[in-house]
């Protein structure tokens, strides 16, 4: 029994394995996703991030291993137990997964309609509260097809947090967004995590997100956990696969080299950047 299981709102993965058609996609992954922190699962496309997240939320059943929420085994939970737990989970999907036939307001109100006994006025108040929390105003009556990608993500976040969940999952929250909007979404996820004291798990391959919000980072490579650490450790990591992933571009490699030299005191504060770059 891990001592951390006595933390509240913690998720623990124990030796998760998942395969499709005889091919192992997730291979023996164990990790602890901590409370009040942004836990990032990073890796290249096809590394198993999304499958791992779907195992975490129960959309896929792991072939082996277990997922523990606050020490309770999700895999062995009965249907009622799972239903109760799922009401404490919010998820932002890659494509936002908003209901096409509903307006923004109806989308956010849907979990309240389904699971609470609040009257219409109370529900509207709550919806306006979360929509203003995600900085989305004057969009209540619009349909998902009438709003931008960034706004859809914010509506997705608003819907995910409207029931005050303990756990927030975000699958590729920045996919298809410009760098500026990505930054806004990252900031929002970070703020919400801290504000509500949630356990947030973010699936991403966006290095900006990693550096911006990655309190804890799990690097997936070919279906297994290759590296684990924080955004402070990642730049100086000696893991070859991780370095290949994060320093895929020459520019980033140069930036890393410079930081390494800087850390060793070989570059002074008043460095001549033109000279160094040449």
């Amino acid at each position: 029994m891990h001592w951390l299981q006595f933390y509240y709102r913690m998720i623990e993965l124990k030796n998760i394995e998942k395969g499709f058609a005889g091919k192992l996609v997730i291979n023996d992954v164990s990790a602890i996703l901590e409370t009040g922190k942004c836990n990032l699962i990073i890796g290249a496309s096809g590394s198993g991030k999304t499958v791992l997240m779907k195992c975490l939320v129960g959309l896929f059943e792991p072939d082996k291993g277990d997922v523990l929420y606050d020490g309770d085994s999700f895999t062995n939970m009965n249907e009622d137990g799972r239903k109760n737990l799922r009401q404490q989970i919010g998820m932002l999907f890659q494509g936002s997964a908003l209901f096409d036939s509903m307006t923004v307001e109806q989308n956010v109100m849907f979990p309240l309609d389904m699971f609470t006994k609040l009257n219409l006025k109370q529900k509207q108040q709550k919806v306006n509260e979360v929509l203003s929390r995600v900085n989305l105003k004057d969009a209540n009556k619009k349909f998902p097809s009438e709003i931008s990608g960034g706004m859809k993500k914010r509506v997705g976040i608003a819907r995910a947090i409207v029931l005050n969940p303990k756990f927030l999952f975000c699958d590729e929250p920045n996919s298809g967004l410009d760098p500026k909007t990505s930054l806004v979404i990252d900031k929002l996820i970070k703020e919400i995590t801290t504000e509500f004291g949630m356990t947030t798990v973010v699936n991403t391959h966006d290095m900006n997100s990693v550096m911006e919000i990655g309190d804890k980072i799990i690097f997936m490579h070919q279906g297994h956990k290759e590296w684990e650490g924080t955004n402070k450790d990642i730049i100086f990591s000696k893991n070859e696969e991780l370095n290949q992933f994060i320093f895929a571009s020459e520019f980033l490699q140069d930036a890393k080299d410079m930081r390494m030299l800087e850390s060793k005191g070989k570059i002074s504060e008043d460095r001549d950047m033109d000279k160094l770059m040449s």
């Binding site: 737990l85 989970i89 919010g90 998820m91 209901f99 979990p111 389904m114």
Partner: protein, 233 residues
Amino acid sequence: MIKGMVSKPENWKLYWKELMHQCNEIGVRSIGIVVIIAVFLGAVTTVQTAYQLVTPLIPKSVIAVIVRDNIILELAPTLICVVLAGVVGSRIASELGNMRISEQIDALEIMGINTKAYLIMPKILAALIVVPCLVILAAVLGIWGGKVAGELSGILPNEIFNQGLLEDFIPYNVFFAMSKAYTYSFIISSIPAYYGYHVQGGSLEIGRAGTKSVIVSCILILLADYALAAILL
């Protein structure tokens, strides 16, 4: 799939709202096509039956008897449901397929909602409620279409048609038609729901699921048609 649908609703009010929505989508939105097809089916049946009955030994009121029984026993339930399999079936398959591909079904699952119960059950129940009503409407309009065609073309005056309608009427035929209607309602709602719910891939697969569900529904309707006729008649 059927087993997974049977569970206590998370919120009765929302399930009821969804049922009413589906009744509107499946029933009310299909009225137009059902009216057009039924009226012309009746009209054509009258004209073609009169064309085949050339002997003066058979009274003209028999045309009305044939039109009535044909429409009640076969045309109203079977043909209308084959058309509905296309109209309603492709809509159900594409709606659920699109929800699956765009992760809307996953979003509902994550919220703790039984998606089979919330998305599929109301569609099947709605079909069981409204399709038999559409079949009754089609039977009535089909017979009326036959009567109008008989009068307009001068084949059969209204009085003789009305007289024929009352001749040798067997109420059991209505029961048989309703048995068909309920069986087909289940087929045209559950088969597309199955294919739509289990779509994997992209928009191409949604189209394929729609086509496949219509083909399978039509074949099953024809098989059930024969089976019911063999068992109940």
